[in-house]
Amino acid sequence: MHLFQNKLYRILSIACLAGYIWLYFNLSNYYSKTTSQIGVCLFKRVTSIPCPSCGTTRSVLSILQGNLLEAFYWNPFGFLLLAVLIITPIWLVIDAINKKDSLLKFYGFIEKKIQQKLVAIPAIALVLINWYWNIHKGL
């Protein structure tokens, strides 16, 4: 269990770090008004169809500008992702100081919740609806 905890915490910290670096690049791009858009979505590159999470970066950037409606239009996932991006590092630091595994317990709890059919089916439906909306918007 201890081994898994270290691994999960490592993955989470790397993911958060990558997220912040990505956000920094996009913000500096946004302010310098360069038109060059770096697209990293493999699926979009290959098929030219947007994936369910395309537009999340633009959504997060819109939230940071204060345009919540525009953020929702780009991709509702942006709110969720920004919340995770803010909360996770704080939680990681608190866990590291207290030498506890509260984040791991919470992660396990969420994982169990989502694996229940009653939660999983609406969640999948939401993702599919969002995907359809993304394709419709032509992101």
């Binding site: 993955i11 990558a18 990505w22 369910p52 999470s53 395309c54 999340t56 992660y107 694996q115 993702v127």
Partner: protein, 112 residues
Amino acid sequence: MDANKVDMFIMSNAKFFESHQLHIIRDRLITIDDSKWVMISTAQFKDPSTSLIISIIGGHFGIDRFVIGDTGLGIAKLLTCGGLGIWTVIDWFMIQGATREKNMQKLQQFLY
């Protein structure tokens, strides 16, 4: 447990586990009680080759992680465009090991 039974189990299930774990599993299986044999012999394990195929096709949406039971990481992968496309590629190489680890976790429930 009977050494013959254990060897049969090891032979038919070797591909589901890391090779360095096999002798630990064998030692452990020999010491445990015979009553657990039915549970262990009927346990379903995930095939690493199948998860590799799933990873190549649907890894961008985190489907490979969902299939092996890492729901949380699967969602993370889905919401971040496959970890900005980088995690997708990393997982093409990592997913077989992750599958074997999950199988080991599952077997450990019976062993201890």
